[in-house]
Symmetry: C3
């Protein structure tokens, strides 16, 4: 199969869903970790310094991280389709990263906005949070779709609903088999 | 005008809508047929063998099919924006195919998910089917949008509602004129 | 920061929201104006003639306009993510234009479809208009997302709701700071 990218907004339960990957013979890596390993091998001392590098330099590191991941064989990559910053939604899988990794599948772990907002703040769930999660998931879908057209990857949605984690894990393992 | 791509989920009534194309002076071709013609000319005996070729080889055939279509002048191409596979939604119009065809318009034939589910199974329409159709159409829109930005094609929606096929055909013919 | 692209459907109040840009030290330019300046410098007499140029020639002018904008430093670019034509939604920011401008942020000014339809026609707001605006905004989001993945720009939504223009301007200025 090769590279399977797994994405999802914070609180959706991505790590739990990915749990079944080792059983299916896949290594699990975090994109940010691999990028930092590449940076370290070039003398960058810590993640803070990495984030302060010029944009072109960060893009080069993302590309190298993608190539390193491709060389790993069957691997599940834990990453984000977009990251919410003060300047809006930043693509976590921009074109150059996607081309370097050339994933076979882009998996989107999703739940309802109400479920996600609830998991993030067990006490109070505000409508505002629910709206923000809905927008974030919508942006993620659009970013993933654009990336899929670029590299020819499939896009798969794994639904991780409350009280039905086993179904989500099974659905994910099916994709890998 | 050149190449006009027509897409839509199974059951939406794409063929009926495209019916008016010949009248408007357009040839109608099926992307898969053209791709197989190219493959045959290189000695691939049947479609099964074609589907088993290495991915890079299939991409080369898709590119050649796109170039062949471009050389046909005014042509309507029957194809899919995405195909639902066991690994998720596969782009039917990945970047390399789109660039080879360079369509002027990407037409999306749509209906409501309930209408489509109903057309597929006249007897029983399950909510699950309706949800799946809604997701498939949403993925198609996102894939088509990404492709349009790559090649500068317009994206047009032709609505093919129950009992209003004439309107859909007329709307499609307007796009070609 | 560099280039910040501001988009939105007609009637959403884009110009008002952009008003705060000069205060923040940004020049405001209109993409179409810059493109015409480039065309004029090559002897094209008026905008009508420019629109009649062959597609490849228009693409070259769009690319040159993008490069000119990039050379301007901190600049807010007034443009459209898509333009509704008789052939469907035409990408206003196709790939070649985006790559030439390499924006840091793609801002989408949005309001509810009902608010926008109401602003366009103060007297009567028809459901049909509301539906069209909803589709246009949806297409814009998808086009913007595809562009963002190509160039690594962030996508930010500025909501410009009735009676809350100050919030919209402040939100936009925050993005620039």
């Amino acid at each position: 199969m090769g590279v399977v990218v797994v994405t999802g907004v914070p609180g959706v339960g991505k790590s739990t869903v990915m749990g079944g990957a080792s059983e299916a013979g896949y290594a699990i890596v975090n994109f940010g970790d691999i990028m930092f390993e590449v940076a370290q091998s070039e003398g960058v001392p810590d993640r803070d310094q990495m984030r302060k590098l010029p944009v072109a330099e960060q893009q080069r590191l993302q590309r190298l991280a993608g190539e390193k991941i491709t060389s790993m064989g069957n691997v599940v990559v834990d990453t984000h389709t977009s990251i919410l910053t003060k300047r809006g939604y930043l693509p976590g899988l921009p074109e150059w990263t996607l081309r370097a990794m050339s994933p076979a599948i882009i998996v989107m772990v999703e739940a309802t906005p109400t479920e996600i907002a609830g998991r993030r703040a067990k006490d109070v769930t505000r409508q505002r949070d629910v709206d923000d999660v809905a927008t974030h998931q919508e942006v993620n879908r659009a970013f993933a779709a654009a990336g899929a057209v670029m590299v020819g990857a499939t896009v798969a949605v794994v639904e991780n609903h409350d009280g039905r984690i086993d179904e989500a894990v099974a659905q994910f393992q099916d994709l890998l088999s």
